[in-house]
Symmetry: C2
Subunit: 211 residues, 2 copies
DNA sequence: ACATGTGAACTGCTTCACAGCG
DNA sequence: CGCTGTGAAGCAGTTCACATGT
């Protein structure tokens, strides 16, 4: 496997191609061209080929790609061929929605803990796992060594939670709190920001209206 | 107001700057420098100044920016100084989480309808609004003319829903279903994709592990 | 003196166009 | 002949460094 600096946009598209390939497999389609993948995922055929070219040669000239083997290759690239353990902090509506998200299990993510501070929630079950008190966070991290922490707590508590999970050895964080959080360089964090996404929509509508 | 092609990344950062400025206002801080904004939002000072420069001159040389007036200017740029009506389709955990999201009301978004097909959910209240049957979607759109539709339904129904809201005159869509959806050019769509975000994390962890 | 505003240089992603190969 | 794989060109976003204004 080559080891250049790969654009993040490429990884995002690979994830999208991979989902489309999964659907093709379910439909029993075995071969696909870059231009078909492009059309169905909002990319261009050159883009699809360039993205794949970072990682090797997966197609057959004059023919296209074998759906199943391309799917497997992309899954390996994305690292979803392994099992990753995750914990969810915050058992509000959002935390629970995430704990139930089908895409997680499908992709080999294993939920090993969900935490909250609200005594009403603690002890209840979410998708077969008990909601635990936040006090038990370190204990569970010690026992399970989760790879990923999903932060679904109010903004004002997010940095504290991040500090604690980093201290407990988590390597990756997916943050839903509307805050910019800091982590040590060896811990990666990604933000999913509802307000920012909506504001991109309103910016464009407001721009149109000004024209 | 200048009318160049503005990078999407700039709009995303403006949204983040704006949130930070909001916090500064609450703390009673009145003046701020580009380098301080940069530090707290993960950008660089040149970036902050360039982003603002697309829209005008907002600062005072040798001094910095007035927090409140910069906040107001960015809010106007992003279009959040207006009231936007939104509907939510899907009253699962995610749809309900979104209907309760504080950031919406704060930013002038008004929820004018939440829809589902599950008879158990219909009639119940979410944040003061009744959950309606999906059959009433067109009726409500007719009456309220929502600007934005939030799609929080399973992937296999997402395109149908999008077709219906587009037909009903919605201009902007925020899609949470893990599908690439198509809309006419005059309707913008943004995707919030949990799986892709997680896969970016696993890609990086897998890459590290390969080294 | 100090922080903004900005042209110019740079970096990196995307698109093009065609060579390469089944 | 058709579709992949890929250097080269083009374009867009970021960073630099300094002129500008208070």
């Amino acid at each position: 496997m080559k080891s250049f600096k790969i654009p993040e946009a490429t990884i995002i598209r690979l994830s999208i191609y991979s989902r489309y390939l999964h659907r093709l497999m379910q439909q029993g389609i075995t071969t696909i061209s870059s231009s078909d993948i492009a059309e169905k995922t909002g990319a261009t055929s050159a883009q699809v080929r360039k993205d794949l070219a970072y990682f090797g040669e997966f197609g057959t000239r004059g023919v296209g790609y074998d759906v199943e083997s391309l799917y497997d290759s992309i899954a390996e690239i994305l690292g979803v061929d392994k099992e990753w353990k995750l914990i969810i902090i915050g058992a509000g509506k959002l935390g629970l929605a995430l704990s139930m998200y089908e895409g997680f299990r499908e992709r080999g993510f294993k939920n090993v803990g969900i935490f909250d501070v609200d005594p009403i929630k603690i002890g209840k079950k979410a998708q077969g796992i008990k909601i635990l008190h936040l006090d038990q966070l370190e204990e569970v991290c010690e026992a399970e060594s989760p790879d990923i922490a999903i932060v679904a707590v109010p903004g004002e508590h997010a940095q504290d939670i991040v500090n604690r999970v980093v201290e407990s050895g988590v390597r990756s964080i997916l943050n839903f709190a509307p805050r910019v959080l800091t982590t040590p360089i060896h811990v990666q964090i990604r933000n999913v920001d509802f307000a920012t996404n909506l504001e991109l929509l309103t910016y464009n509508m407001a721009s149109e209206d000004r024209r």
